[in-house]
Symmetry: C2
């Protein structure tokens, strides 16, 4: 397990999008700069969605413009052609599209069937490819759905295969409500790897039930090598208010370093970045590592 693992930091997008308090473009740019300063290199920085529906992502074009002169790979979420045009105009080099593995979540989240959502972003992928923009594909609810309950692994494989066949260069498997456990993660990764190369699958696990690190460890043992995480464990869970959001980048880095996998991330700097955003949001980051390191920082300061 000593080979390289790639961390995709999703705090500025998936994290902040699910926090109740919107924070300013300037603060988000500063957050991303501090994440880069801590050693993270691939960062999802915004979403070209309706600011009425998701005020937390308002000004994503300005955020992207504010950071893209810096060294790093910046991703933005794009739901449709309108969003694609805005992302391209802002200089996006990597976009992410998303589909659900469950019909219930697809209807509730984007008000259409899974098949219709795929039709909707087909032209987005085509245009991005023509424009030389890389596309990442998210599959949500891969281990359970807040509306439909259990999700058939074959439904996940089908959507992942479609995204891959359409030209996504990476498929991120989202345990959106954090209900997975290691055995199910292993089985799902094995099934998906029949269609998408294991090195092109990302593990995007939420920590709602505290299982995310155990699940990531199981996935690493299966050979997966890309992990999505959010600084501080930002994000919360809209389906269980008060519960935990994305797995914390700090906790992931601690795990990887303990396994002998060098991440290049400075945990002290990362915790400082997470605490700064936590202060804007009015709460301490839920990350266990952030709490432990913050306690040490308080003692030595």
């Amino acid at each position: 397990m000593s080979d390289q693992v790639r961390i995709v930091e999703v705090g500025p997008r998936d994290g902040l999008q699910n926090e109740n308090t919107p924070i300013s473009v300037e603060a988000r740019v500063g957050f991303i700069e501090s994440l880069l300063g801590a050693g993270l290199t691939t960062i999802e920085v915004g979403a070209f969605v309706s600011p009425k529906a998701i005020p937390q992502m308002q000004g994503s074009a300005e955020v992207l413009r504010g950071v893209q002169h810096l060294a790093g790979e910046f991703h933005v979420l794009v739901p449709n052609e309108k969003g694609y045009e805005a992302a391209r105009a802002a200089g996006a080099k990597v976009i992410a599209v998303f589909a659900s593995a469950s019909e219930g979540f697809s209807r509730a989240n984007i008000n259409c069937s899974v098949a219709d959502s795929i039709e909707r972003f087909k032209p987005v992928i085509e245009r991005a490819q023509a424009d030389g923009i890389k596309v990442r594909g998210y599959v949500s609810c891969v281990l359970g759905c807040p509306y439909d309950g259990a999700v058939d692994p074959q439904a996940v494989v089908d959507v992942a295969t479609t995204l891959w066949d359409l030209g996504c260069t990476e498929v991120s498997l989202g345990d959106t409500i954090g209900v997975g456990t290691p055995k199910k993660v292993r089985e799902l990764l094995r099934a998906c790897a029949e269609a998408v190369p294991m090195q092109s699958l990302a593990m995007h696990f939420h920590d709602t039930y505290g299982q995310a690190l155990a699940n990531l460890y199981a996935g690493l043992e299966e050979g997966a090598r890309v992990i999505d995480s959010a600084a501080g464990g930002l994000g919360g869970c809209p389906y269980a208010p008060g519960a935990t959001g994305n797995v914390a980048t700090e906790d992931v880095v601690y795990l990887l370093e303990g396994l002998g996998v060098a991440t290049g991330v400075d945990l002290d700097k990362l915790v400082t970045a997470s605490n700064a955003v936590g202060a804007l949001l009015g709460r301490a980051p839920p990350s266990r590592v952030a709490a432990a390191i913050s306690a040490k920082q308080r003692r030595t300061s």
Copy 2:
């Protein structure tokens, strides 16, 4: 991994001992009753230590007397012969002794060397065996020490072997400050299992750095089958105030059930028990599962 796993619930002792707010004998008896009601069967209920040094454990004899008519296996911690006599007088059937794998922790915690601490509880084990009382042995700081830093696995093996040879029927390996990661856990378990049968080793992991479930999963894969945990994740960390304590029983149960290991524990009842103690302590339990289930309970009530 479908064979039986034994959970040793340590919330009423290791958990409450490390909480700032002492709670009454009556409340502790009620807590233990609710844990039994949730399906837990092996519970560490108190410690026969100086009430001046550890006021949280004051009245442990009354707690033990208050529950021992109930169906369950109740453990109490015993530091020395004086404590042993009090535990026996209160009807203890299982006691636990403890030694550190690190000299720094031994000196700071019980003011003597590791070797001296073993001499101190030798007569305790002898008397317990003569009295037909089972003895469990704790080794603390098995993956790191707040004073000495890294701990040599051989030091852990030496103490574990001594405890086993002296007659302990189970040796619990404590990651007291929660710094371990899965690879180190596997290596440690393999080393200890050379001297103590794997089925007689318990995993006692704190969740300070969020690694506990990943570590337990790795340990289960190695063949370990006993897990110490605390309802709600009680306990905090005296070496990192604000950080997390024992791994939460709720999170362990969720993991095990997801792996197909039946625990017999009713998670809703367990969360209710943890929340009731949390209310007495003035804070929500840190368990992720408790937070997620509490959110659901609030929505449906």
